[in-house]
């Protein structure tokens, strides 16, 4: 296994834990990254709560969302979200699907999330809505079939975030750390937008401001700072498993 892959798998496990610890993911939700050398594959954990994901839990998938190596472990039912977006968007290197508490009220009320402060500009100018019912009628609201995944990818379009009515959100990024930042900033933006609305108004940033502010906090120098911060908070929480060397290895 090339070292780049080993490192990326460790980073993906940590991304899972960070996003869980910061309140983006809970028992549900998942985060994937495109394979570093084979753009036709992606990496995603087996079905497990994100706070608990370790490198040994990460599996390799084709873009049809089938595991590359046959496995008996349980898989996330909604993994087509990831595969279909990687198929539709060459520029997307990482995907996060979640039901964050800050975002759900907007997904339920059908009210769009717009960037209301400079850090929120990382979500882009608009967050389109996708309603599974429009195309598929009554379902259990899970995105399980390839046609459901493709429909969601179409709604996402060239945006960075798509809101899923009465379900949650899916966020994409040009890299894993960028994705983690955007996912957390989306939640902060939604929370502040909601509270500002309760104070009377939550006007969005101007189009020019969004363009200029959108990438500032996704630059490597800033991402290094945020990643160190979220990692420290995660470590201090005591929710980390013992280091890998203390445990018997599991065959992947």
């Amino acid at each position: 296994m090339p070292d780049g892959l080993t490192d990326l798998i460790a980073e993906l496990a940590r991304a899972n834990r960070i996003l869980a610890h910061e309140g983006v993911l809970d028992a549900f939700g998942h985060v994937s990254v495109r394979h570093p050398t084979d753009p036709g594959r992606y990496l995603l954990a087996r079905s497990r709560a994100p706070l608990l994901i370790e490198p040994d839990d990460i599996l390799e998938y084709t873009l049809d969302s089938e595991p590359v190596k046959p496995t008996k472990v349980a898989l996330y039912a909604e993994r087509v979200i990831h595969g279909c977006i990687y198929q539709a968007r060459d520029d997307v290197m990482a995907v996060c699907h979640h039901h964050a508490a800050a975002v759900l009220p907007f997904c339920i009320a059908g009210r769009p999330i717009v960037p209301v402060f400079h850090i929120g500009a990382a979500i882009g100018e608009a967050t389109p809505f996708w309603d599974q019912h429009d195309e598929f009628g009554d379902t259990n609201l899970l995105v399980v079939k390839p046609e459901e995944g493709r429909s969601l990818a179409r709604a996402l379009g060239r945006h960075a975030v798509v809101l899923m009515k009465r379900h949650g959100a899916t966020v994409v990024g040009g890299g894993l750390k960028e994705l983690v930042s955007r996912s957390i900033f989306l939640c902060q933006n939604a929370e502040y937008q909601m509270r500002a609305l309760m104070l009377g108004a939550a006007p969005p940033l101007r189009r020019g401001e969004i363009k200029l502010a959108g990438n500032v906090n996704l630059m490597p120098i800033v991402v290094a700072r945020t990643w160190e911060y979220w990692s420290t908070r995660l470590n201090a929480s005591g929710a980390m498993p013992p280091p890998a060397s203390d445990k018997p290895k599991r065959k992947r």
Copy 2:
């Protein structure tokens, strides 16, 4: 004592702690499970805050809510809630009564909780209200008398949740882990419903969606994932007592 019973008692103690740690129970509230081999009995802790319940705290009750073995320990005053529901509902294997912060505002305002996102479908299509005052006039609002328990069970009917005016909620399940999941999902749903209302609207899922989505997150494969997650969070909180082997046994 048969092994199945020992395991179930340990699971019930853990269910108490998980529900306390996740904010469903606080100093008050209780959770019971029907006896695994004798449907005419149920298991419930002595009067103690749920976060602290250990297997040694669990007692066996008849469906008249009398302890099977005479005991001098203090008992929950409202245990008829459990007995009366087990009498009325053959299909119910576990019961949780609580005053969760997310649910209380609805119980006070008299506004029903409805499923507003796919995970919330686990609460079912409707959550009927029960007002102790309607039948019993001024009381201390505790459900202590058998006729009060029976009245509550009638209000519950075939539903999974009954809201108790100016008091709390009672939730039932076809098994203990299903009950834990439903109780937590009810709180999430209530919280998101409230916030969506503040954004303007919180329309319920469609009837067909509720039917299809209602059981998805109560399936064993999902419950294994949520139970592992909530257990890990509980363990990381430092609120667990030392393992039983470190302590002198108490005679039950």
Copy 3:
């Protein structure tokens, strides 16, 4: 020093820490208890944040709020709140003054807190308002002068809680553990009342219900349960100092 007093001092230190950990007190606020054998004295900590109070921090005061033994340590500026209430109310054995986050919005908006669920009945039927400005004009809003303390005690009257406009609240109890419970229940009630108002309505319990429910959760059997719970949460927080035996004693 009689053992009863030593125990009460330890209990008072713990009450300080519990009320801080449960969000009633923060850097400010204080809690006192009447002397167990001399009703003309009370016990209160030196000026220190309640989360940190240890038995060695507790001092003895006359009802004029002067320390019985001369001391050079800093004292709470607002201790007349305690002395004046002990003078005015023979039945009061413990007093807590605080600026809890749940209560402040009501003190600012001038909207009374009323019992909206059975546990909230512990605050009594009404929570009168006291506005320091009415009698004393522009001040720094601290209750420092004996006449200010007496004015506050008059506003409290025979009630269990008095709300202080743009300042906080003062709560009294027939014992220290009763006071701790009432103070925490007041915050829960205020929080739920506010959220119910946002859902449309927060009607109070009926007068008969308040009378019947008011004392239920202040009974020794319930207080034992709540105290054990709050103590366990405090211990798990890691904010406790090392046990006294590990530290050099400080002369009181």
Copy 4:
């Protein structure tokens, strides 16, 4: 290095951590202090999340916000906020720029924060707004150019707090501990003001009350109490690094 400077650097590192732990700072925001013996210089960390700042991270800057010693470490982009305010205000000894969750909704809605309880009086009578767009048009909303910093300092004027539209706030103090207190009290005041508005009204303190109450909680005796409290909470959180003696020194 004189001892006074060493102590102040340690205090600044701790101020960073306290403000992060109390929710004023997150991955972003920064706090500085004027040099204790050279008023033409100030101390500020390298670009790092405030929760992680250690004494070795602190650098010395001129009031033009250039590091006194050449360095290769990354620097905060917005350090002109600090330099320009120290240039404009002789009386300011410490500056904090932040995006606190309690304050952002007001910065987005454009609704001023006013002192609504006695402790909130520490923010002063008014909190002026500064909108970067008024003078500079579309930007990324970061205060990076000296003219932007000077414009912000003009908006601050003789006040203690300036709110930055769709961005955050900048707070100043006559000393580092005073600044920490004011920054935390601003957040509490904003939170309570918002909740009081939802209850119907949040009238400000009277002018005379603000004058009288404004400095009470910034007095050394009170600051000693609050600083000990916030430090204890920080220590209990487990987010502190090991003591410096356990680690190899880094050259500053």
